[in-house]
């Protein structure tokens, strides 16, 4: 009986992990000493390079596992996470190094309305209901907020 309950609990936690990315992220962050949320919402393409450089520099500045980075994009800045973005390979590379990419669902809906179809996002990007809300949550958890 005890084993069955434990199995059930583990299964429930696993299910939560799959369906609720926030829980996963919260679990991941606990291992690092430094936590950064990088915010992009600009149309200016140079900001895309800048924010990716910021992430790469942070990874380089700290020992492996010591820094936790999440890039949150909304508004025109969401273009960074489009599947065909010219920086897609850099996103893949940073994601493999542990950087998380979070896309704003509200922006995605707006873009879909304007384009007539939903833009394809880079597979490394995870969609949250609201980018601004996500930033608020992370800051509340103690993340250092940076908007290059």
């Amino acid at each position: 009986m005890y084993c069955s309950l434990r199995t059930l609990a583990l299964a429930f936690i696993s299910l939560l992990s799959i369906t609720n990315p926030t829980s996963v992220l919260a679990a991941e962050q606990s291992m690092a000493d430094y936590h950064y949320v990088l915010h992009i919402s600009d149309l200016d393409p140079s900001k895309q390079d800048l924010i990716l450089n910021n992430a790469a520099n942070l990874l380089e500045a700290y020992p492996p596992g010591q820094v936790d980075i999440e890039i949150v994009a909304y508004g025109p800045g969401l273009r960074l996470m489009f599947a065909n973005n010219v920086n897609a390979q850099r996103l893949d590379s940073l994601a493999q190094s542990g950087v998380r990419f979070t896309a704003c669902g509200n922006t995605l809906k707006g873009f879909t309305k304007q384009l007539g179809e939903e833009p394809k996002l880079n597979p490394v990007a995870k969609v949250v209901p609201g980018g601004i809300v996500r930033i608020g949550e992370l800051v509340k958890q103690g993340y250092i907020y940076v908007k290059p």
């Binding site: 393409p45 273009r79 489009f82 010219v86």
Partner: protein, 462 residues
């Protein structure tokens, strides 16, 4: 014809390479086709304003003929009325980007030329639109570019002029590819105060006094082609394997340069293919070893007779070439061979006679060829760059007036920063007749005094 065969072989080879290697999707911008025809997906501005300014001083040391007369190659363009002076050959303002930033499938490119050069001077325009194109990126492997833009072709012409490493083009590029368009008819000097470039007389040679008095060696009434055309191009680039990039372009255009009309009703066709092994970097600064081949063919109308009757005849204008470029700092090496059949510009004479006058060798249906080899050394840990180029042009091949230009160009560049540099060139020019007998005693003897030229040019990109 030899060039065409060579090009076809290269194209076939490239197609096989595509098939064998298995193209793996579109590459990022890394060559002139892509740099000028596309914007970075998902990362381009709605409107990116840019441009460049070039200011230069040049002095030509050529000697006049025995009567004190000068011809075009001994004078500084575009006016061709002096042997030394300052000029602003290029002053451009451009705008490029994507009109609707959420959609990377459509982008545009526009450039306005306000410098004093072969584009603006003949047409008498203060400013001339030299690029205005829209690219549609909807079909994988087949981007479509429409409008006015650089035609896929020779490296010197296709590359961005503001990063060109010399002040002047090689003779083959200048004489065979920077197209001069014949005037629509001959000049009627009836009632015109002398000097007038009469229908039956040469344009020049003119003495210094005649030039200062208003005589003009440049009597073209249309802008030079500027390596551009108005039409439609299908193109793309593909990553193949780990570090190779294959590119292709096929274009059809009016064949009338930066003029917007198609006055002869015929269309020019262009093909281009390149294969580049990439060593790193991106955009203009990509390091690599590029092999390229190209071909273009079309027709031109010429009025053959020195009268007021319009009786134009159609002539073929075919060009082809192939080359290689190695670029990995601190070294750069480029070599290209160019062949031409028809519409061989061969002054000094009237604009129509530049191509047609039988007495001068009839360039309208003649052949020509040329090549160049150039290299650069970016002196490590300095802002200096040394350049050297040898180029040759042999025109009116197997004709009475066959002749050849050889030119050595020694260059030095100082890069104040990546967008501002000064270029110093010293050109050692030599002319000789390659056919036996008469040629060097007729009008082309005017070229015997062609001498060295020195130039200093400041380029600023913004």
């Amino acid at each position: 014809m030899q060039g065409k065969k060579l090009f076809k072989r290269t194209v076939i080879g490239a197609v096989h390479a595509f098939a064998l290697a298995g193209a793996t999707g579109s590459a990022l911008a890394a060559n002139w086709l892509m740099l000028q025809g596309t914007e970075p997906a998902g990362a381009s501005a709605r409107a990116n304003v840019w441009g460049y300014v070039q200011a230069k001083y040049e002095k030509d040391f050529s000697d006049p003929n025995a009567a004190g007369g000068f011809v075009a190659p001994k004078m500084l363009g575009p006016e061709l009325d002096t042997q030394d002076g300052f000029n602003i050959p290029r002053a451009t303002i451009g705008i490029r980007g994507t009109g609707f930033p959420l959609d990377s499938n459509i982008n545009y490119f526009a450039l306005l030329e306000m410098g004093n050069n072969g584009v603006t001077h003949p047409s008498g325009a203060f400013a001339k639109l030299i690029d205005a194109s829209v690219t549609l990126n909807y079909i994988p492997g087949a981007r479509i570019r429409a409008g006015l833009f650089k035609t896929p072709g020779a490296e010197e012409g296709l590359q961005a002029i503001h990063v060109f490493d010399y002040i002047n083009f090689s003779e083959a590029t200048n004489g065979l590819l920077l197209e001069r368009f014949p005037n629509k008819g001959f000049t009627d000097c009836t009632g015109v105060t002398a000097p007038c470039n009469a229908a039956t007389s040469n344009v020049g040679p003119y003495t210094e006094a005649q030039l200062q008095g208003g005589a003009s060696l440049n009597t073209f009434d249309s802008s030079v082609g500027a390596f551009r055309d108005v039409g439609v191009q299908v193109f793309d680039a593909f990553n193949v394997g780990k570090d190779w990039e294959l590119s292709y372009a096929a274009m059809i255009g009016n064949g009338n340069g930066v003029q917007f009309n198609n006055s002869d009703g015929e269309y020019d066709k262009y093909l281009y293919v390149s294969a580049e092994k990439k060593y790193g970097g991106q955009g203009i600064n990509v390091a690599g070893l590029k092999f390229f081949a190209w071909s273009q063919w079309g027709k031109r109308l010429l009025d053959l007779t020195a009268d007021s009757t319009a009786n134009a005849k159609s002539y073929n204008r075919d060009r082809a070439g192939l080359g290689v470029k190695y670029m990995k700092k601190p070294f750069r090496v480029t070599a290209e061979y160019i062949t031409a059949d028809g519409m061989i510009w061969s002054g000094p004479d009237k604009p129509n006679f530049y191509f047609t006058a039988p007495a001068q060798g009839n360039g309208a249906d003649a052949k020509a060829s040329g090549w160049y080899v150039e290299g650069g050394w970016y002196i490590p840990n300095t802002k200096f760059e040394l350049d050297v180029r040898f180029d040759t042009l042999n025109r009116l091949e197997e004709r009475l007036n066959e002749h050849r230009f050889d030119k050595w160009t020694l260059g030095m560049q100082y890069h104040f920063n990546p967008k501002t540099r000064v270029t110093v060139n010293y050109e050692m020019r030599d002319f000789e007749c390659t056919a036996a007998g008469a040629p060097c005693t007729n009008a082309n003897a005017n070229l015997q005094g062609v001498g060295d030229k020195v130039g200093v040019q400041l380029t600023m990109i913004y």
